[in-house]
Symmetry: C2
Subunit: 153 residues, 2 copies
């Protein structure tokens, strides 16, 4: 039975700290959205639809970084809450379109305000310069690795 060899500490990784902070910010946001009975994924889909033409599920899947199967079910939930509508495409018998209902559209600004508030809550006591630096570094990392897609999970 050999003694364990030393391995790098978890906290040595930037990825570790990134995940801690990101998870906390997201969970705090989820808690705020819960007051409106909306999940982060639901908010995200609604935000993509907001102010745009009715959109194919496949396009939403692409923009949100989810599978089409996930979009089908997410849409089902939002339809059940009367926040979006699904309609068959006139042009293509296979295609569907998703669009916000009036109720859904009216809700988005309120949810956006929660997003603003959540961001402020975590980042407002960084200095302006620090916030700018953080944003610059994150965007540069995102660009380098060709990260796209609205992140959900």
């Amino acid at each position: 039975m050999s003694l364990p060899q030393p391995v790098s500490d978890l906290t040595a990784h930037l990825g570790f700290w990134l995940r801690i902070v990101s998870n906390h910010v997201s969970q705090a946001f989820a808690a705020k959205l819960a007051a409106r009975e909306v999940t982060v994924a639901e908010w995200s889909l609604m935000r993509v639809l907001y102010g745009r033409e009715p959109m194919a599920p496949s396009r939403l899947a692409e923009e949100m970084g989810l599978t089409r199967g996930a979009i089908t079910r997410l849409a089902d939930r939002l339809i059940a809450k009367s926040l979006i509508l699904r309609e068959a495409s006139a042009a293509d018998g296979r295609a569907q379109t998703l669009a916000l209902t009036d109720r859904g559209s009216a809700l988005v600004p309120h949810l956006a305000a929660l997003a603003d508030r959540n961001d402020a809550e975590f980042f407002d006591d960084l200095s302006l310069a620090e916030r700018e630096t953080l944003e610059r570094l994150l965007k540069s990392l995102a660009q380098r690795s060709h990260m796209s897609a609205t992140p959900i999970a």
Copy 2:
């Protein structure tokens, strides 16, 4: 039917960029671990046990930020892979302890090397100064909001 009022852009939020980058880093790590047939949660549990005394599931739950139910199931999977052992506590008839098997213990350094490599892959083309800044900002955010617990999700 009213026109949608302008709402803040998604990409205006630091939380958005944080989540994008964090998700990508985590997914890349998950892909590396998959080669060893281990998930991020499994790695995380093994890393907590590594080099320590057998530990109660409830303690792991606390350190990892998961429920006890989640630990029960996560432990079941690791036991099925012969990476950890579950034993009844001698002192307390309700209690169990979890510990790495020799096989599990031997695997940890290899997984830690994957973690090192993953972190390097994403962050090594930031300058040293930039990495230090990012680490400082993330740690300061974590501290301010009393974030603890190994993040999994």
